[in-house]
């Protein structure tokens, strides 16, 4: 029985050590996932900042371009106005209309550039979110798979350890049982012998007792003394 307890103790110790390694592995995996998540988050922030900067740059470029167009238009208008005296009233009206048309065109172009920039920025931001989400999801999935695999391995190992321990305990129990039965049989045998001695010893009356002594003396004479 003592041997069984030792096996159980060593088995449990082995299991505890296995579980400790498993927990340590999981903690390392978890810490790595957290680090990966932080790295991805930083990359997302960086990309977002870059996108904002890029959109700001595009806006500034568009603004600069439009301002340049407007300045050019104004310069051109001023030049036209200088020579306006030579134009007729109709020509001035035509010129004003043309100028208004040109202004509207430039405004429309400027609006289109702004709309494009906005759409482009939104697209970049969407793409960044999606990448971060995909990478984080992949990390979590990988971690889940690793945890599941480790748990399955631990389960298999534990099952096998328990099965081997139980088999060994069963064998030892059978041996112990046999030894115990043998000892009990020996005890029963001794009891039987004592009981027989007591019963036979007490069952003799005086005459039988004395006859048995004489018979024993005869036997002693034949088997020992006369030999």
């Amino acid at each position: 029985m003592l041997v069984s307890s030792e096996i159980l103790f060593y088995g449990l110790t082995l299991i505890s050590i296995s579980l400790s390694f498993l927990v340590i592995a999981l903690v390392i995996l978890f810490v790595r996932s957290i680090a990966s998540y932080h790295k991805l988050k930083e990359e997302k922030d960086k990309l977002q900042a870059n996108a904002v900067q890029l959109s700001q740059q595009i806006l500034e470029e568009a603004q600069s371009k439009s301002e340049k167009i407007i300045v050019e238009a104004r310069t051109k208008a001023a030049e036209i106005l200088k020579t306006a005296t030579i134009f007729t009233k109709d020509e001035r009206e035509n010129l004003n209309a043309g100028f208004a048309k040109a202004t509207l065109g430039y405004i429309e172009e400027y609006r289109n550039i702004l709309e494009g920039t906005k759409a482009q920025t939104l697209q970049i931001l969407n793409n960044v979110s999606k990448d971060v989400k995909d990478q984080a999801g992949a990390g979590v999935s990988e971690m889940r798979q690793a945890i599941t695999a480790e748990i399955e391995k631990a389960q298999v190992s534990l099952t096998q350890t328990f099965r081997l321990s139980f088999e060994k305990i069963d064998k030892e129990l059978a041996l112990y049982k046999d030894a115990k039965i043998k000892r009990i049989n020996e005890s029963v045998f001794e009891i039987l012998k004592k009981a027989t001695q007591n019963i036979l010893g007490k069952s003799l009356n005086m005459s039988e007792h004395e006859d048995l002594i004489l018979n024993s003396l005869e036997e002693a004479k034949k088997k020992v003394i006369e030999r």
């Binding site: 039965i181 049989n185 020996e186 029963v188 045998f189 039987l192 012998k193 027989t196 001695q197 036979l200 010893g201 003799l204 005086m206 007792h209 004395e210 048995l212 002594i213 004489l214 018979n215 024993s216 003396l217 036997e219 002693a220 004479k221 088997k223 020992v224 003394i225």
Partner: protein
């Protein structure tokens, strides 16, 4: 040496010899004492059969001859061979006589029984005689039987296991 064998029919055991020796000593002491006369000791302090035998043998002898006779008788009693028998309990008078007769007939004519009571013997006898130790007790027979049949008995017990 005179013939003292007639005493053997009355003396069968070690204890009976010791009692007779004490009586002989009493008579010998009385031979030279005036306070307790020899005749008084013979008639009053001895068992009847001892008194009868000694009176018959000593009546015609003088003091010195009586002393010599008693001394020889004592020597004769001491010369008897003791045969040791261990038995489980006391024997009846008849039983003691039967055993004594058997021993004197088969082993030694001039012998005494030294009976030792050992309840563990259970029955039968353990005889110690002439360098032989013969254990023919019931205890030994039972032990031999169980030793011989041990495997068979254990097999039967084992078959009851299921």
């Amino acid at each position: 040496m005179k013939d003292f064998t007639k005493y053997l029919s009355k003396i069968r055991t070690h204890e009976e010899r010791e009692t007779l020796q004490e009586e002989i000593n009493l008579v010998r002491q009385a031979l030279y004492k005036t306070s307790t006369p020899f005749e008084e000791v013979l008639s009053l302090k001895l068992r009847s059969w001892v008194s009868e035998e000694l009176t018959r043998d000593l009546v015609n002898l003088d003091t010195e001859q009586r002393n010599a006779y008693l001394s020889q008788l004592s020597e004769f009693l001491n010369s008897l061979t003791e045969i040791s028998l261990s038995v489980s309990r006391e024997l009846s008078q008849t039983g003691t006589q039967r055993v004594s007769d058997w021993v004197r007939e088969n082993l030694n004519k001039e012998s005494l029984l030294k009976l030792e009571i050992e309840p563990s013997v259970l029955g039968g006898v353990i005889l110690v005689y002439g360098g032989f130790y013969c254990d023919f007790s019931l205890r030994k027979k039972i032990e031999d039987f169980f030793a011989q049949e041990k495997n068979e008995i254990l097999k039967i017990l084992d078959s009851q296991k299921a």
